[in-house]
Symmetry: C2
Subunit: 471 residues, 2 copies
């Protein structure tokens, strides 16, 4: 077993040469800032690590801007950290070796929309909500929905997924191509707009999930989907988490093309009730959605209703109006912040394990026993249709022993997931937090291959250094 | 534009040291052969290139066997070419630098079947038909179907797809993990059995489609699917290819979850009629299949029947019995050999372009005009639901001017596909044949990244050297 990351020992700031800062200011003027407030804002994400600011922030507005920063960074051997809107969860954005944060949030152009091909190319700073606004009047949508209104660049960088992945796949399946600025400042394209290709190494999928460590993605070409003719959502309560998970397993094994299948434990239900006044019965529940033709949705729903009925589901309720659905899904998306508000002033240590579906009840049940015994407040939400769930331990800010307790439980859960042939991270990425877990999961040999690729594509270790694995 | 490959200039045989052959014989006994007949058999595939035999063939029966070959190859700097059943189409298997062919066809174990998770792990030499036999009594199937009864290792190596990809994706979407022997003879695992993961670089998808140039895949973990409750096939004739393609475009744009959507031009229909006595009307046709619940299949079929009717489709006919369906799909799968028999003694130069669906009619129409003008016999089959089709030019064996004519048309088609934001290869891979096209398509910068990865993972250039791109 690998030791957890020693955050402070991991810090190794490299100096930002004055000449580099001067060159950035000459090129970018007011779009380059080294103000403490700006740097602090770019030196944190939603992880429980302390703020670790970069030395400067550059607001890029074009691929050429990004390439200009990278050419300077290459020349001065200065770290570069791509930044979207700061919603990552594993310390991806923290400038542990100093350097320049490349803020892409102003790169919000829809570059090319091809409704007739179900594809769109966007700049990396476009958020998923902006994208869906832009394609809705063509009768299309982009299904990947990690909850946060993240940028498409950030979502590609962490190989994000979320609530619709059970039916539509993750960023892995939905990115067709990329424009990338390499570590030396060269602009390359990967992939095409064709739906499939066997032309050479799959660079697209190498960059997807590389967390900014191999280059900066500046454009993303994505698959789109026709808005379903019919959408229906339902909730179903269960006496236990175990019963809810067993119903999920059955739904997946039957091959029902369910679009969303989310678990909320009683703590999460309580939290969203408190925040959004939903008046939900306070017991474990599944929140589900079905997409298809009118008849297809009805058929799916009947199958699922029968399964949940057999497995002790109670109070199966429909939410067929768009307003009701939006209310439920908004509440689900706010569960993270709602959960935090159960214990004001706390931080959350959040797990992200994903296991083969038949092992899901086992790992959740054991993790609940562990969490209950700890006395720490916690809640569970999960994309259980994929075998993926998040257990968030709420720890008092600055309370080292609570933090250590939560990290120890997280560690035990990861070891269980690996033993069950699953993964330490379903969708959040490795960042700083899971560097040790990655070695446990993939093995030293596979991590050595990743390291060789990193050395080949970023020989000066300037692309988001200190993340995923040690140099 | 890049010059086409000069095959003979590309040959650069390295000597096989006697000590290496001796070491292989000591380790493998009769499972190591340097007999000319055996080497010749392993020095060709279905491409029109001349047989280019390896210096020896080793029949491996385990991952440890493969690792033993690789450790010797690393020590002696000898090329290694992974070999399944020899169905590749682009010269992948030809020993252009000599070396050892690692025959994996005896590695046929189903290592681990988990019907409850819809996953299976197989040794690389398992063929898709063997796999489907092994999982059928669990009510499951593996959809990727390139026509040939290829091995799963070979299919992963070329990122294969075929007739079911329009609904189920390609090997890119359906490989969960791999066991790989690296160029230095180390055994690593990539991926897990979890449905999704954000844990580190996506090594699985880097090896999928790497055509044996980065390592030898010895085990493949795959997604399986429940056998559909209902399956129905249909054929529909059209007055022109253009009308058939326009119907396809409409079907895809409507979001119909069609499972197979294949085009046969009149020449292909004639060929399968001649070979399989199908008595099909000799006009361009679509051969389609629908998977789902009884009601779902009926609904899809009604939608498609309405679309084809509006676009001039004629003689829409159902094939609902398994026997009829098998007869039609067997004929489709034999189209390659049936087409060859139209001109006995010929070889085929086969294209594999794939374009965004809205561009499909344009590229097929132009390619037909070109082919008709050439006077060469040809036929077209295509996975048109994906925007992918194959035009096979039939050239007299040894007729250099016919061959050059066919290659020139192939080149023009590829340039058109690239201009239309498509790819030179939808599913066959690059091999030897498309090395120039890859540079045209991906650009020198992206190919340089691929080359960096190759140099990092195979620094002695022993893994299937001389393929995909120049060293």
């Amino acid at each position: 077993m690998n030791a957890p990351l020693d955050f402070h020992a991991h810090l190794a700031r490299r100096p930002l040469p004055a000449a580099m800062l001067q060159a950035l200011r000459a090129r970018f003027g007011e779009r380059c800032s080294s103000a403490a407030a700006v740097c602090d804002q770019h030196g944190r994400d939603e992880s429980p690590f302390p703020t670790t600011p970069p030395d400067a922030v550059v607001y890029c507005e074009s691929t050429e801007d990004v390439a200009a920063v990278l050419r300077l960074a290459d020349a001065y051997e200065v770290p570069v950290i791509p930044y979207g809107v700061g919603t990552s969860l594993e310390g991806h954005l923290l400038a542990v070796q100093g350097g320049v944060s490349v803020d892409l949030s102003r790169m919000t152009a829809i570059v090319q929309l091809n409704p007739e091909d179900l594809t769109v190319t966007v700049q990396a700073g476009v958020t998923r909500e902006q994208l869906n606004q832009a394609v809705r009047d063509q009768g299309l949508f982009f299904p990947i929905d990690p909850g946060a209104n993240a940028t498409l660049g950030g979502m590609a960088a962490t190989r994000a997924s979320g609530t619709n992945a059970v039916r539509y796949g993750t960023m892995r399946e939905n990115v067709l191509g990329l424009q990338v600025v390499t570590a030396s400042g060269e602009v390359v394209r990967t992939g095409t707009r064709a739906k499939k290709s066997s032309a050479g190494y799959d660079l697209t999928r190498l960059f997807v999930g590389s967390e900014g460590t191999l280059g900066v993605m500046t454009e993303v070409t994505l698959k789109l989907y026709p808005l379903p003719e019919a959408v229906s959502a339902a909730i179903c309560h269960f006496a236990s988490i175990d019963a809810a998970v067993r119903a999920t397993i059955q739904i997946i094994q039957m091959g029902v093309p369910i679009a969303r299948c989310e678990l909320l434990d009683v703590n999460a239900v309580r939290a969203v009730n408190a925040q959004s006044r939903l008046g939900l019965r306070e017991s474990p529940m599944l929140l589900m959605e079905f997409h298809g033709s009118e008849a297809g949705v009805k058929e799916q729903a009947e199958t699922v209703q029968a399964i949940t009925g057999e497995l002790g589901g109670e109070d199966f309720q429909w939410a067929s109006t768009p307003e009701e659905r939006t209310r439920l899904w908004t509440a689900r998306h706010k569960a993270y912040f709602a959960g935090m508000q159960l214990n004001p002033g706390c931080r959350s240590v959040t797990t992200d394990t994903c296991v083969p579906i038949s092992k899901l009840a086992e790992i959740i049940d054991l993790s609940v026993v562990d969490a209950d015994a700890s006395g720490l407040p916690y809640y569970i939400v999960g994309h259980v249709g994929d075998g993926n769930f998040h257990l968030a331990y709420l720890v008092k800010e600055g309370d080292a022993s609570q933090r250590a307790l939560a990290e120890a439980m997280s560690e035990r859960m990861v070891q269980r997931a690996i033993a069950l042939e699953g993964t330490c991270s379903g969708e959040h990425g490795v960042g700083l937090h899971k560097m040790g877990f990655l070695v446990d999961e993939a093995g030293a040999g596979a991590v050595a291959l990743m390291r060789s690729i990193k050395h080949a594509l970023d020989p000066k270790n300037i692309m988001n250094p200190g993340k995923i694995f040690d140099w």
